[in-house]
């Protein structure tokens, strides 16, 4: 059955190649006067009137085959007094159809698309949280990254943080008369806080916690279960949540009735800081998104900037980028599997084995970039520096000899373990249909039988030159996700071997790299197949040296959308296993 779904998708997508234009044409014809092309310089896609949004979305999904909503985000065009909600939808093999809805800043309300694409759920909440756009009809429109009761919508251009210094970096106080100061010293409270006038803390009623449960209880009642359920908080400090994720679980006995991830415990305002930085200054910050895969994050970001500017890195740099990205994928999958096993109860053994190999790959990263984890290696138009002497030999020893051997060994260690099989087979099933609707991507999607890999459907960098298989499995359970990751490591090694054989000599940077650069006005969305799934960067430039809008389509966060769906009906002990099989990094979930 799953295969059929994948097949039918494939059919729809054939037609869509290069037909984004046709699709937007069809959309305009279907909704005359309500849909108009976006004619701003450097922009693409269409602008849809708010009242026609749901109909247009349904038309797009059902008639035109755009069944995957990748990204939803807000943009504050403060100068025009407009808030914009931007959507990127994909067919199975088509490019992105971008559509936007604009509303005035005063009372921004847009119909919610959760009913059409459930993947919009968390993203609309985020956009509400950050911009105050209310999505009418959203099932649970609460703040997601900050907390209920937080003052203001932080991504609005007129909202300022307590340590605000200037709109853009570089700050003028640093040079030539930079008397050192700590930001705390300039704040009346000596902390990173600010309060609106007239705020009296003694009278404050803490609604942050109760609001979380409100959302949940309501859902429970809808399902008619009102008695004898208990609510359990897993996290934010829990050894199995891979960081500071909190999951609120409603239990009937030991069976999960309802579940909701509570995010934002690692919200570090990545995007606001990004908008203050110059374009190249963001690169080291992207390392800290998904901190396990810093190389891939950097790659996604620089590709987005390069798309906006329209430059190409030299051949050698392209190869180096691919090598780094694939090594990162191996690191990520090793850790994903290791921690998944930790969640199952094997404690540290597989993690320790995985870390041994990871250490060797991190040595390579340290050698080439200077840091084990926060590589800061990609540059707009190239990479930081060429490979140092001796790097290739070391990498070869790993890629040709050690890692293939290790993957086999890991396979022998884990795959046939009976305890593991009984814990994982048939657990956390996510049918293909649902996976697509809920925006799942990466190994999670491919284990549900959808052969969707951005390296194949929309090859970026030089991925079209390599011979590799898109790993698909069809049982859609935890065990298959594990096997997909195992097999993907082998495919990565295959790509690595090809890249290492073909890599040419030459320069590694186009033009001169600088810490600031002017980027032409316009928007760009670029997505890559990061180890965890589809990682997208949405950039809007106003022609200056720093982005007007910088948004990260975070794989991990959107992959959490189907969590509740997968967990319902399972035992509480399975929740951690299912969560582990999604493979999230909190730095990317909360940004």
């Amino acid at each position: 059955m799953n295969e059929q779904v994948a097949e039918s998708e494939g059919v729809q997508l054939d037609a869509a190649v290069g037909s984004v234009e046709q699709a937007s044409q069809a959309l305009r014809e279907a909704f005359p006067g309500k849909v108009r092309p976006d004619e701003r310089e450097g922009y693409e896609g269409v602008i849809v009137d708010a009242d026609a949004l749901v109909d247009a979305a349904l038309f797009l999904r059902d008639q035109l085959g755009f069944r995957y909503l990748s990204s939803v985000t807000g943009v504050d065009y403060a100068n025009d007094g407009l808030l914009e909600s931007v959507y990127h939808a994909y067919g199975a093999e088509s490019g992105a159809l971008v559509f936007k809805v604009q509303v005035g800043c005063g009372n921004p309300e847009i119909p919610s698309l959760v009913s059409v694409w459930p993947s919009a759920n968390f993203q609309e909440r985020e956009s509400y949280d950050m911009y105050g756009i209310r999505y009418a009809g959203h099932p649970n429109l609460q703040r997601i990254l900050t907390w209920e009761g937080f003052a203001g919508h932080p991504m609005r251009k007129d909202w300022r943080e307590p340590y605000y210094e200037e709109e853009h970096k570089p700050f003028k106080t640093r040079h030539p008369d930079g008397g050192v100061f700590r930001a705390e010293d300039r704040n009346p409270f000596g902390r990173n806080v600010q309060y609106s006038p007239g705020f009296d803390p003694a009278k404050w009623e803490d609604i942050a916690q109760s609001a979380v449960y409100d959302g949940l209880m309501r859902e429970v009642k809808e399902e008619g279960l009102q008695t004898e359920t208990i609510t359990v908080n897993v996290g934010p400090q829990h050894p199995s949540t891979h960081g500071v994720l909190r999951v609120v679980v409603v239990l009937d006995g030991e069976t999960v009735v309802d579940l909701m991830p509570v995010l934002g415990y690692l919200h570090r305002n990545h995007e606001k800081i990004g908008e203050r930085c110059t374009f190249p200054q963001i690169i080291p910050y992207t390392d800290r998104l998904d901190y396990i895969c810093s190389m891939s994050n950097g790659l996604g970001y620089v590709l987005a900037v390069e798309k906006l500017i329209g430059i190409q890195p030299p051949e050698r740099a392209e190869y180096i980028r691919v090598i780094m990205a694939e090594l990162t994928r191996i690191v990520n999958h090793l850790m994903a599997i290791g921690f998944l096993w930790n969640d199952v109860g094997a404690y540290f053994t597989p993690v320790i084995y995985a870390f041994n190999e990871r250490e060797l790959i991190l040595d390579l990263f340290e050698m080439v970039s200077g840091s084990r984890m926060m590589c800061n290696y990609m540059r707009v138009g190239g990479v930081f520096e060429d490979l140092p002497a001796g790097w290739m030999e070391k990498a070869r020893a790993l890629v040709y000899d050690r890692l293939p051997r290790f993957v086999d060994e890991f396979h022998r260690l884990l795959s046939e373990n009976e305890i593991w099989r009984s814990r994982s087979m048939g657990v956390g099933i996510l049918p293909a249909e649902q996976a697509v609707a809920m925006g799942a991507s990466g190994p999670l999607l491919r284990a549900s039988g959808v052969p969707y890999d951005i390296r194949r459907v929309e090859p970026y960098s030089i991925y079209d030159r390599f011979d590799f298989d898109v790993v698909v499995r069809h049982n859609a359970d935890v065990y298959d996700r594990f096997l997909v990751r195992m097999e993907e490591m082998r495919q990565s090694l295959r790509i690595l071997r090809q890249a290492m054989n073909q890599i040419p000599a030459g320069p590694v940077q186009t033009g001169k790299k600088n810490w600031t650069m002017k980027v032409p006005a316009g928007e760009a969305y670029h997505r890559i197949e990061a180890p965890k799934g589809e990682l997208g960067f949405y950039l809007v430039s106003d022609g200056g040296s720093n982005p007007w809008r910088y948004h990260v389509r975070s794989t991990s966060m959107i992959n959490l959308t189907p969590l509740a769906e997968m967990c319902r009906g399972h035992k509480i002990a399975d929740v951690v296993v299912i969560l582990g099989s999604i493979d999230i990094t909190l730095g990317e979930v909360d940004r």
């Binding site: 309060y195 009296d200 800081i273 250490e359």
Partner: protein
């Protein structure tokens, strides 16, 4: 190993050196304590992965008697604040610290936990965990490499070894250590200890904290 314990003022006969150690009880007790510090399994952000790397075989912190990471604060002696402390997480961190039994230690790992780190300028990051709970050792770096963190532990060991009996408050009927005020998530996070200050600030000229120009 025996030599580092030997008390400088107590002479050991030459032929017994290396076999017999004469040390004060305090010193011996501290020596034992320093080598059985159990950390709490508690990671906040990127730094946590370097912490885990430190726990695995290449760096292996079991060599320091840290064997087990305990997920429960009740069983842990050491809290490694590994990563960015966000405002939303801050109440939890303080609560965990309050739940730890004395003697308890805090190692602040990485720029973020020390002072806010690269995300300090942002609106949702606490600029330094020491604003909320006392910190014993700061390990700089972003992230500190596993060896840098181990150096932090060596520093902590030295500190523990030099503790005087009279400073061990947990033997002096001074309760199970102080309870620290848990911050509250208001319109912005506030520390109950700061309530008077906030009120007096509010009474002053209403600083429009967030005026739109």
């Amino acid at each position: 190993m025996t030599d580092e314990l030997t008390h400088p003022n107590i002479p050991v006969p030459e032929d017994l050196k290396g076999t017999v150690t004469l040390a004060t009880w305090e010193k011996f007790y501290n020596w034992c304590r320093a080598r059985s510090v159990w950390p709490m399994f508690f990671g906040l952000a990127c730094c946590a992965f370097e912490m885990i790397a430190m726990a695995t075989s290449r760096f292996d912190f079991a060599r320091f008697g840290m064997e087990v990471m305990r997920a429960s604060p009740r069983q842990a002696d050491l809290m490694i604040v590994a990563g960015t402390v966000t405002k939303k997480m801050a109440p939890q961190v303080v609560r965990l610290y309050n739940q730890m039994a004395e003697p308890r230690y805090v190692v602040s790992m990485g720029a973020c936990a020390n002072g806010g780190g690269p995300f300090k300028e942002g609106y949702s990051v606490v600029s330094g965990i020491d604003k909320l709970i006392p910190v014993d050792v700061y390990v700089p770096g972003c992230p500190p490499t596993p060896q840098a963190l181990l150096h932090g532990f060596v520093t902590l060991h030295k500190m523990i070894e030099n503790t005087k009996y009279k400073d061990m408050i947990w033997y002096h009927n001074r309760g199970q250590g102080e309870e620290f005020a848990i911050p509250v998530l208001g319109p912005d996070i506030f520390d109950p200890r700061q309530i008077p200050l906030i009120q007096s600030e509010a009474a002053k000229t209403p600083v429009a904290a967030n005026d739109s120009e």
